[in-house]
Symmetry: C2
Subunit: 344 residues, 2 copies
DNA sequence: TTGTACGCGTTATCAG
DNA sequence: CTGATAACGCGTACAA
């Protein structure tokens, strides 16, 4: 009853069909082209086509000891920040004939470890870890161990975002970007700021806050009011709501990412505050999907797709010893949500 | 010089360390728990932990003849429609201990075929094909062949969106949803409509257009003006721009997805048209990231994450014979972009 | 240039 | 309940 499909066609079948040995058939596919006579090569290819042969990747993986799979672990694939990075990874992976296995942790550090372990089991050639590290020492140590184990088994590890780990990293200049934003906003005449910061333990959020503060100091502005909130739309909404009672004493608000900024916009709207007349607002990332909100959001653009590609490049150019860093700058984009203040 | 890392620890190593045979060690992990004495089982586990053992998935795949990998092929992972579906797939996959290999075709049908072939090579347990089929007979046949080959090699195939293929499908009721939207808008007092339709050959776009037209007929409204455009933000922008000269003769515009609708909003803004006073606008999908645009967009909500999960469920409940269909309804969500017309 | 034969790490069958 | 041992499909020394 078990309706077992026909036995899958193997390289052996192809070899038989072509009238050559298994070894020759194998070489026809991957051996340096010169090693097998063109006539035989063609025969093998024809046979493969005729039989609709598809190489058994797990078997190849076993024989070769490695795969062409790379793991991509993100916090949340539905978040446009990560999905854009993923798009860049996919584009670059495709160019280099790599398969991508996806992990989405929903920000649970233990899931990150589990994916790492699973990817090690798959003998992935590399894993790209995207998303800010959390300052959680318990998981930090465990992660370090996992990374070490993975590398010892011959895999490469690339991190996206700041790192405190000795691996190749695509470093996002969050701090410099936020600082440049603060400078730009000060230049537009804003004076009294608030920051909708992310969670305290998220490095990306911390760096953006720190950079912004830094920029304000340099510009001779008073320190900003800081409200924490989740790194999400709703987090921005709540933080802004919390801020509203004191909003009249503020000129501008910096939400540490665009998604939070949009939540903040919604909060303002719901409470009768008009942007940018009553308050200016800026974000960070320049998420493509959010470029059409009104008023258009001032932000710091990160080339998210390029970041994903850069991570793949780091994998492929794995030369050897010292951990490398590819630094990615942010670009301040001034839009309607932060008009020049009159009577500056 | 080749700095070969230490040989990875195998199940054999674990068996030795635990003082049992290879077979027993294997059973300790996957054999039904009862088959191995608890004491030995524990020994094996301890040894594995001590040696930091990680099962070699490709080897398991070879021995078992199958993997726990499922492929997810989408048009563009950066598109929020697909990234939301992906999130649902990931959530459900995680629950069932499946790994997900991602494919992003950038809407090139030949890439879809290539991913299929690669996933067959990986011996994926299943592949989920998300995204509307294109009416391209050349690729249609090729796709049918690939699917057949994949299924014959023991894999499952699930499609998301309408299908014309004999496989399990998560059917999205685009037609019914668009029809309901037309009915609702007519009920609000709108009379003269235009539709920003997607490409002619995209089934999803066609169905939404057809359903909308259908609804208008039922409501006794005149046929809408139809403008085609890409299924993207820019496509919506361009189509709306094209429509502008005749906008004064219109009451409402239906963009066949939210992303296009947002492009249309931008076009209106850029050309001095105020929504919803000058024109009403509706979309389709209810993309989360776009819920905060102004005016808030009337749309037809699809439960995108649930759709992804449903696809995984279809894989796991693969009972056997006839292709099944899981139908997913859309829900009309009326928002500020389509206020009730005064003096209806 | 081609063929033979072994090994990769597991699972599963078959004896004990 | 446990232990040998034969597959699984492929790559690759080694031999011819």
């Amino acid at each position: 009853m078990a309706e077992n499909g026909p036995a899958p066609v193997t390289l052996m079948d192809v070899a038989n069909e072509a009238g050559v040995s298994l070894a020759t058939a194998s070489r026809a596919f991957n051996g340096s082209t010169r090693n097998v006579r063109e006539a035989l090569r063609q025969k093998v290819f024809d046979a493969a086509l005729k039989l609709n042969y598809s190489a058994n990747a797990p078997a190849q993986a076993m024989a070769r000891g490695r795969t062409n799979v790379v793991g991509l672990v993100v916090h949340d694939i539905a978040d446009p920040y990560f999905s854009s990075i993923a798009a860049g990874v996919m584009r670059s992976a495709e160019e280099h004939h790599l398969m991508v296995t996806l992990g989405s942790t929903l920000r649970r550090p233990e899931r990150e470890l589990e994916y790492f372990s699973a990817l090690r089991g798959q003998r992935s050639r590399a894993v790209i870890l995207a998303g800010s590290r959390v300052k959680d020492f318990q998981y930090f140590d465990a992660l370090r161990d996992q990374i070490q184990a993975f590398e010892q088994s011959g895999g490469r590890v690339v991190m996206i975002s700041q790192h405190k780990l000795a691996v190749d990293t695509v470093v996002l200049e969050n701090r410099a970007g936020a600082k440049a934003l603060a400078t730009a906003l000060s230049g537009l005449g804003y004076r009294r700021f608030a920051v909708l910061a992310g969670p305290r333990d998220l490095l990306t959020a911390r760096d953006r806050l720190a950079g912004f503060k830094d920029g304000l100091v340099r510009a001779g502005r008073p320190a900003p009011l800081v409200i924490e909130g989740d790194f999400t739309r709703d987090g921005g909404y709540r933080a802004m709501t919390e801020l509203l009672p004191t909003a009249r004493n503020l000129d501008a608000v910096f939400a540490v990412n665009d998604v939070m900024a949009v939540g903040a916009m919604a909060a303002c709207r719901d409470h009768g505050l008009t942007l940018p007349q009553d308050l200016a607002l800026a974000g960070f990332d320049d998420i493509a999907t959010l470029r059409d909100v009104t008023p258009a959001l001032t932000t710091v653009r990160l080339p998210l797709e390029a970041i994903g590609s850069a991570a793949v490049d780091l994998i492929l150019t794995a030369d050897g010893q010292p951990p490398r860093q590819k630094r990615i700058k942010g670009e301040v984009i001034l839009r309607a949500s932060t008009p020049r203040r009159r009577g500056r």
